[in-house]
Symmetry: C2
Subunit: 200 residues, 2 copies
């Protein structure tokens, strides 16, 4: 499908990496996301789906049309799920270094990344799509691709971190790719929805 | 002022310690808070006042009358303000032990506790009252009074943690006491507001 025939859908994010990873997956579905500047109101909750659902409704109300939102987090078993839904705050404050320090001497290094894509079709109809990838926390930060906690997360079946893998490999197995692929599949079987965004 | 003449005001919290500390201060103002079971919707923000303001509005909308909300956090300088607004989540996951581990070998142990009390008088009129206490992070957890991060916080001018001090000393200097005292002072000069809660 040529670029010209893609349906462009707004996404509420300021994170260019998220858009790039989403579009890497969605191009197979003839869809292209573009960032819109709408306040993404996030509630405090331990449930990513609840956060994404609320944000999608807020964005819908603010823009008067469906807007894609995505929320994701790194959940470390030995730390009770920390940093979870607050991953970006934790990344900004204590960073990779802080999380690695918390994991010093810890034998259980199991962790997973989860992403939830949400979109409100009306005030009462919010669709959510969840993706998860299991893995473990590395002993030290490695690699320069991706963003956030990618340099310390090793997906199951690999010996390299997300940040050592390029976008192509990351998007073949990541939480975000899975969630956006589910979103793409859903749109494919609900193509009438696309008319909500089609420009005349 | 006798107990019988106190004005009872609802507070949206499930934390009995917060109610106790607030009432310790507010009894001097003839006010007694009692817990109400209303969802306290907290947004993700690095600004406690913004979180408290939003929660106060939500509680007002849910109950149809002004409800006291309070939000507080521990801000550690060397950790970029972490755990800040997410203190209760961080306490529940990595706990005192995790925060002490992050501070291992750290010479700058400066920190402060901040509390914001908020109350919505209408959809457009939210009052907020801020209290702050400076101090430092202890080398190890000590004491059994209070709750949350009290065992690792040493207020300026002391050598003991909040958890080693009883409620009387804590409430003579704490962030929460300062915020509720400001709330009490404001009510004293706006006594007509009290009629919003008075039972006939």
């Amino acid at each position: 499908m040529g670029r010209g025939s893609r349906v462009r859908i707004p996404m509420a994010t300021r994170n260019r990496n998220k858009i790039d990873e989403a579009n890497y997956v969605l191009r197979d579905f003839g869809i292209e996301l573009y960032p819109v500047n709408v306040e993404k109101l996030e509630i405090q909750s331990e449930d990513l789906e609840e956060i994404a659902r609320f944000a999608a409704l807020q964005a819908y109300q603010a823009l008067g049309k469906p807007v894609v939102v995505e929320d994701s987090g790194l959940f470390i078993e030995a730390l009770g799920g920390f940093p979870g839904p607050y991953s970006s705050y934790v990344y900004k404050t204590i960073g990779l270094k802080g999380v690695l320090k918390l994991m010093e001497g810890e034998e259980n290094r199991k962790a997973y990344f989860e992403a939830v894509v949400a979109i409100a079709l009306s005030e009462r109809d919010v669709k959510t799509f969840v993706g998860r990838v299991e893995g473990r926390i590395a002993g030290e930060a490695r690699g320069s691709h991706g963003f956030g906690f990618d340099p310390i997360f090793i997906p199951m079946g690999f010996d390299t971190t997300f940040a050592e893998l390029g976008i192509e490999v990351k998007c073949s197995l990541s939480h975000r790719a899975k969630a956006f692929r589910a979103f793409g599949e859903w749109l494919r079987t609900n193509i009438d929805i696309l008319s909500l965004w089609e420009t005349p």
